[in-house]
């Protein structure tokens, strides 16, 4: 038998290392093979032939943040549900299925409240979120 320290983690690290190796190897090949004739026009950002006006790092809408916000809350809730889900069958076999179901459902019901709230308030609409809140305020 082999000790457990060689199990599990090593392939993960090896795959990550190979990805980095492949990246730099490909880069090296590209540097060695590719032609190098830089010009100013070539290295301007592509905007269909027009010269770019202003930086691209300014246009951003708050709805992207709201989507990210809803995502992170759901992400964290699913993280907490994973260990409970993976012992659900075991608990059920031990005859504690009802107890596990109640815990699980009460956790999910809070999750459903969250999505229902966001739906009701129009945070899930992509275009209308601004008009929706405008309508609310003028009412």
């Amino acid at each position: 038998m082999i000790p457990a320290e060689f199990d599990g983690l090593m392939p993960v690290v090896i795959f990550m290392g190979l990805a980095v190796l492949l990246f730099f190897g490909g880069h090296f090949l590209s540097v060695a093979l590719a032609p190098k004739k830089p010009s100013h026009l070539k290295s301007t950002p592509y905007e269909c032939g027009e010269l770019p006006v202003g930086s691209a790092w300014s246009m951003f809408n708050v709805r992207f943040y709201v989507v990210g916000l809803i995502f992170i809350i759901f992400d964290v809730e699913s993280v907490l549900m994973f260990p409970v889900a993976s012992i659900f069958r075991e608990l059920n076999d031990m005859g504690q299925g009802g107890y596990a179901l109640i815990i699980f459902l009460s956790f999910i019901s809070v999750l459903i409240e969250g999505i229902a709230y966001c739906w009701r308030k129009g945070d899930l609409d992509w275009v209308k979120s601004f008009q929706h809140s405008l309508k609310k305020e003028t009412k």
């Binding site: 457990a4 790092w57 951003f60 943040y65 990210g68 907490l80 409970v84 709230y117 308030k121 945070d123």
Partner: protein, 178 residues
């Protein structure tokens, strides 16, 4: 052997990227350095046998918090802010004179040395427990703890997250410009 390698590389990644967060001026690069630091911490969890916590760290931070931070940086003007002095040297004159800096350095060095001295001695005073390299599965154990011992915290955390969702959505929601 392999665990030592993983430990050293994770520790170097964690510490160097944390220092990167501190010294880099560009806030976008700071976020990416934070990502490296958090990945290093995930590696450290893995060397401690906490596989579930390590993967949770990756899932929540890489997939969630860092992307959210990048979005927030974009929303607040991107890197336009870097014209202001943000690094330690640029801010140095506004934070005090040479006496305060001297005192601060002295206190910092004493604090660091004391802590290292204390931590170094910790291994002798603690009850020696045989540490083997067997990593038993933590997932089922964590699941049992979550539904039995810590069930209240488990349920309340969902309410906490609901509160965070509602509160943050109210604060961040676009509204009429006045």
């Amino acid at each position: 052997m392999f665990l030592e390698f993983l430990f050293i590389s994770s520790a170097v990644l964690t510490v160097s990227c944390a220092l990167g967060v501190l010294v880099v001026k560009n806030i976008m690069h700071s976020c990416v350095f934070l990502l490296g630091s958090l990945m290093g911490v995930a590696g450290l969890y893995a060397t401690l046998g906490a596989d579930f916590v390590a993967v949770t760290q990756i899932m929540v931070y890489v997939g969630g918090v860092v992307i959210l931070m990048l979005f927030a940086v974009m929303l607040t003007g991107g890197t336009d802010f870097i014209s202001r002095a943000q690094n330690l040297l640029g801010l140095a004159p506004s934070m005090g004179n040479k006496w305060t800096y001297g005192m601060g350095l002295f206190v910092g060095v004493v604090f660091l040395l004391t802590n290292i001295k204390l931590l170094m001695g910790l291994t002798q005073t603690l009850p020696t427990k045989t540490i083997n390299n067997e990593f038993p599965s933590t997932v089922t154990e964590i699941g049992h703890l979550l539904v039995k011992d810590h069930v209240l915290a488990f349920e309340i955390s969902s309410v906490l997250l609901l509160g965070a969702l509602v509160g943050a959505a109210i604060i961040a929601r676009p509204r009429k410009q006045n």
